[in-house]
């Protein structure tokens, strides 16, 4: 059991839903990353996703990509990101997962990366460019360490493939709401609710929805049908101001997350 399994067992008992904000590590610096994680946890986040900046993130839209570029322009390194996470996780009541390209994991070594997550109190990873055909090796490494390897299912995934994905995923299923990249969207597709309901009937794993969620009304609409909601670009967009105004940005992100959390339960 990873910390994520514990979280969802608890939430399902209480009939509550998870709110999972995403932030980029190192944008504008790691001190801000540490501060924002604490702020998120204090404002109603159930779990935090930390994006490891990558030079060529093909699944990400302009907002997250720009944030990764800002972080990399300052030469943030994986070692210092992990060190920062190690300092923060003991102070958080919420689990932390990393969103990370397989390019980075491969370069560091699968076991070395997984060991580092365990050492720093991180509960798992989402690897958006590692489809199930390529994931068995990493899945084994994660399983041996009680780390969750969270797999994604998208609107273009056929049902039989979706079922296979649920069998190889751990922690929860990340259901991508739209065929496309990360980014805020005014409207979400109507088939979404049906698909997520179908998935939840067909897997014991919690199913969480991400990509495009930004407004309180999205939360109101989707929380009842999912186990959790992931909010990325809407937060990262607010981080653009953090360089000039870290305190105000923290406050603004905190208020925003509170407003979403208020819709949740």
């Amino acid at each position: 059991m990873s910390a994520i399994d514990d979280l969802f067992t608890r939430l399902r008992h209480q009939d509550r839903k998870a709110l999972m904000p995403f932030v980029t590590a190192g944008d504008p610096d790691l001190a801000f990353t540490a501060a924002v994680l604490k702020e998120l946890a204090a404002r109603g986040a159930s779990m935090c996703e930390v994006g490891i900046p990558y030079s060529d993130p093909i699944a990400d839209g302009p907002v997250i990509q720009a944030s990764y570029t800002r972080a990399l322009d300052k030469h943030v390194k994986l070692a210092s990101i992990l060190e920062t996470l190690g300092e923060v996780t003991p102070q958080l009541a919420t689990p932390v997962v990393t969103m990370v390209s397989y390019a980075i994991i491969y370069r560091h070594g699968l076991e070395k990366y997984a060991d580092a997550l365990v050492a720093q109190g991180v509960a798992g990873m989402i690897v958006p460019d590692l489809p199930i055909e390529e994931s068995p090796q990493l899945a084994k490494v994660c399983e041996a360490r009680d780390l969750s390897l969270i797999q994604l299912i998208t609107p273009t995934t056929p049902n039989n493939r979706a079922l296979r994905i649920t069998e190889t995923s751990s922690g929860f299923i990340y259901y991508v709401s739209v065929a496309g990249i990360t980014g805020e969207r005014a409207k979400l597709p109507t088939e979404l609710i049906e698909r997520v309901s179908w998935l939840r009937e067909n897997t014991p794993l919690p199913v969480c929805i991400g990509f495009g969620i930004s407004r309180p009304e999205h939360v109101r609409l989707l929380a009842p049908v999912a186990d959790g909601l992931i909010v990325g670009s809407a937060i990262v967009r607010r981080m653009e101001a953090a360089e000039k105004n870290p305190q105000a940005t923290l406050q603004e992100i905190g208020d925003y997350v509170s407003s979403l959390a208020a819709e949740l339960n």
Partner: protein, 409 residues
Amino acid sequence: MPTTPRADSSCSAHGPDAAGRFGVFGGRYVPETLIYALDQLAEQYEAASQDASFRAEYEELLKNYVGRPSPLYFAKRLTQHCGGAEIWLKREDLNHTGAHKINNTVGQALLTLRMGKKRVIAETGAGQHGVATATACAHFGLECVVFMGEEDIRRQAPNVFSMKLLGAEVRPVTSGSRTLRDAVNEAMREWMSCVESTHYILGSVVGPHPFPMIVRDFQSVIGRETIQQSRAQMGDLPNLVVACVGGGSNAAGMFYPFVELENVSLVGVEAGGRGNQPGDHASPLTYGQPGILHGSFSYVMQDEDGQTCDVHSMSAGLDYPGVGPEHSYWKSTGRVTYTSCTDQDAMNAFDALARFEGILPALESSHAVAEAIKLAKTRNRNERIVVCLSGRGDKDAAEIARLKGQSFG
């Protein structure tokens, strides 16, 4: 046209296996959203390559639209100048649109029609693949959007204008290094949001499976013709075959039919830029190590954190930090030798070909010419070297003037 059987699950000269692996290289490291489109593409391609009418249509296009076969030309004065082995040029520069890229784009445009899609996106570096894609789309009446880095738009202005004349939209890419690698990122992102209606015509043997296989197969007409023409014109196979390697499509197309002809040595030439320090060249096979970029496991220029490095070449078509997985495989088996040559060597080769043969080669192809000149000097007069002259140099004229400090126009 592709006639390769795909049933074999082991990786032979006919690879890849069912998972898209050439040995350990290749695969599919892409977001789940793209898997369905890639599966569909692999399936449709498989069916198309068994379909005689598809093959006939492709061959007809190659003959009457592209202008194939391209000549195999003996470069007599260049040979005399070098004083060693004979240098022959496989004239891909004489194809419609002036490069090998069109062999792939007409094939993939045919596949696009077969899949019932009406819109095409593509990335481009030198603009040759963009022009070749825009051309094939105009021919078939497909909508076309080409992603191109801002730096390349500057370096290859004539091609940008041509694409627009051909009815394509050119979308400037302003992220990252604003070159080919970023254009691939943007094209992949765009594809994620429109996979149902749009085909992505990737321009080289890179990216996730099945692209490296499809592009290689469509380009392998280069090597097949070269084998026939060599037998007819030289009375034998060449001793050496040389091609430049950016993503590696002209080289893969040239080498693939030669792989099992073991007496023929194969040499791939990467862009050595201005030196061997990271950031000064674009030679992942020479200086990089295996890693992941653009959905494939292959040699790549990365830093110790797995971040892709900036690379440099004066030639926009070679200015790419990665390389096709099959080249990594051929490097690992030793079947192909990979080397690199500098901007300066390539420029000298450009001048030599212009003066001795009356041919302005593309700066990309000039890298292969440079290596051939070097090799010819060390080889006997009775030996024969074939160079894949992948494209013509008109597109580079303004950039060459700038590099030489001369005025253009």
